[in-house]
Amino acid sequence: MKTTRTQEIWVGLFVALGFAALFILAMKMSNFASYKATDVYRITVLFENIGGLKPRSPVTVSGVRVGRVESIDYDPNELQAKVVLAIENGYNFFPVDTQASIYTSGLLGEQYIALEPGAEDEMMKEGGRIRHSQSALVLEELVGQVLVNLTSK
């Protein structure tokens, strides 16, 4: 069974089209491009309540993304949630008294961690620990507080 020239060209085109589609899928339609293997260093931070934070949530400083949440765990000794942040090596200028807060993008959007650099001269290194943290706002707690304020008058 010999294949004709046109068939071969068409099959070649078919396969090329497949690879092109895969490329578009990776670059345009998913986060493949942000998988680049940049070197990171890890710092830990404890939160009272992480709300809806998830692994791979963004870590930002002044709105600029500098890393991602690597893992979330519960620390049984501190009785708090332990969040490990993977920060890109290029952003190594966080003083040891940096504060981490959990915010929500938009009213119902996804949650992310915002870092606010402190004033110390010593910088955070691999394995460092952020001491000041501000938990996620839980809508139910807020509503509860408002109700208490309204009824206690």
Binding site: M1, T3, V11, F14, G18, I24, L25, S30
Partner: protein, 260 residues
Amino acid sequence: MLDVLANLGGWWLGIFKRLGRGFIFLLQTLAGLPGLFLRPGLVIKQLYSVGVLSLMIILVSGWFVGMVLGLQFFITLSRFGAESALSVTVDLTLLRELGPVVSALLFAGRAGSALTAEIGLMKTTEQLSGMEMMAVDPVHRVIAPRFLAGIISMPVLAVLFSVVGVFSAYFVGVGLLGVDSGSFWSQMQSSVDWREDAVNGIIKSVVFGFVVTWIAVFEGYDALPTSEGVGRATTRTVVHGSLAVLSLDFILTSMMFGEI
């Protein structure tokens, strides 16, 4: 009374017999795959008739499915003022479910039925036994290249379906309904995970390609060598292939996207 029981038993025995034959046939086919490296021409020819000729139906349906998704999600999402989530919703729907499933259903209808009819007719006209006479194993020569071509084509077609679908949703959402173009792509890139969503969808389509092509070539090879038998086998390919795709999709989805 005993007749009913006997018929019931016979029916079940028949099912198991077919299942067993199908499985042995699959093993024989798989054993024939390595020999194809020596004759890539056979596979290219089948890639043409299975893959390239299915392109049209896949691309056109992908385009329209994407447009419908874009329109429907826009109508629902704009009620909550969440039009910016349009791209993510469409992309996830296509990558995880509709891309692999709909293209597999179309593939079963377009390419699977053609494979069954072709092989069944070869059997009816005794071309297959003719090959055996010439000491050529028809499973290696006829079945294996078609099987391999089906497995290769299916993921390519499914990925094309998803990509075309997203672009048509872009056309509807951004072009006609006024969603912001920049947020369309950036929302998608920030919320759709390559490994979790895209790769799982591709794995699904490989599994579907395997199952649909297996059913198609087996039905053809197992068809009664009459014109009626070939007709029935073709119908069975489409029915069983579609049912297999839909039920497997549930199992795969619960394995991939269930509790992580």
